[in-house]
Symmetry: C2
Subunit: 183 residues, 2 copies
């Protein structure tokens, strides 16, 4: 299988009115996406935040579970949090994987779009592609349009029983990784 990484973006994302904002780090986003990433063989979990103090917080959480008392209580958590890479921008995440031209980047959204990549096709490409793949998730009300515009593909949204589409990013990421990468 090709190398698959994920990124959780805190800027640029939308707020409820569609304005571009910067969201705050949520502790359980750090944990849950790391645990899903570790489960499904994801190589890196980039946490994208432009504010240094917020990236420092991520590192503090990581350290607490690697070396602190919680790491002793739940050793398995360390393996998951070892995948976390705090970066200042999506460009930094791409650079860590070899740079924009060397990778493929897919975005995700709860909202449908005319040109989305169907899940079955996306799953096949995860198994067959050669370039490292970066799958990008948004916090708050989702990724800003410029992030989608810069992607090679936008994944189809997760559709439930009706039009209600308000999964948490923790749940959405778990479902995407399961659909794309589960053996």
């Amino acid at each position: 299988m090709r190398r698959v990484a994920i990124a959780l973006v805190h800027h640029p994302v939308l707020d409820g009115r569609g304005v571009i904002v910067t969201s705050a780090i949520t502790n359980l986003d750090v944990h849950d996406l790391a645990r899903s990433a570790r489960t499904f063989g994801v190589s890196d979990y980039f946490i994208v935040h432009p504010i240094t103090a917020q990236r420092d917080l991520v590192e503090k959480i990581q350290k607490h579970w690697a070396e602190g008392s919680s790491g002793k209580r739940i050793p398995a958590r360390k393996d998951a949090l070892a995948l976390v890479r705090p970066v200042a921008s999506l460009a930094d995440a791409r650079a860590a994987l070899g740079g924009r031209e060397a990778i493929e980047m897919w975005t995700t959204s709860a909202v449908n779009d005319a040109r989305v990549l169907a899940m079955s096709e996306a799953r096949a490409r995860c198994a067959q592609g050669e370039k490292p793949l970066l799958i990008v998730f948004g916090t708050a009300w989702g990724l800003a349009p410029e992030v989608h515009a810069a992607a090679d593909a936008r994944l189809a949204p997760i559709v439930g029983r009706d039009a209600w589409n308000h999964l948490s990013v923790r749940s959405a990421c778990a479902i995407y990784l399961d659909r794309l990468l589960a053996p």
Copy 2:
């Protein structure tokens, strides 16, 4: 489709040493499982906790999102949290669905077992069965053996790339509901 409900159990569950304990309510468990439930057409999300003050906390969270300032900020959250039913025991959850004889109860676990129900067969039964179905999730280190023993079936665990099996219950529930109930 038959009526499908979920339950999140805080007692009896296991701690890291296998001792039966009572875990605390986690705010994002309330939200995330409710949002996954709403997405996939689940009828009820029972939060099982024997301590009245902890059930009161769940109701306070619910009320804050139904009538409080957060409800105004994110109206969709109300629809999800409307599915939440705090109950003192699994027996109370079963009673709310018609009683033990009237329902089918499945448990979940990250650990494999000799007699688990395969996901494909479980998905078929979700579509075809007639009795209301209660799918039970555990917090902490998972459901106590007595809960599995009282179930009609135990679902196969979610298996990733290797033996590492430490998804959050928020992620695991999302994946189970997607696998069993997604259209």
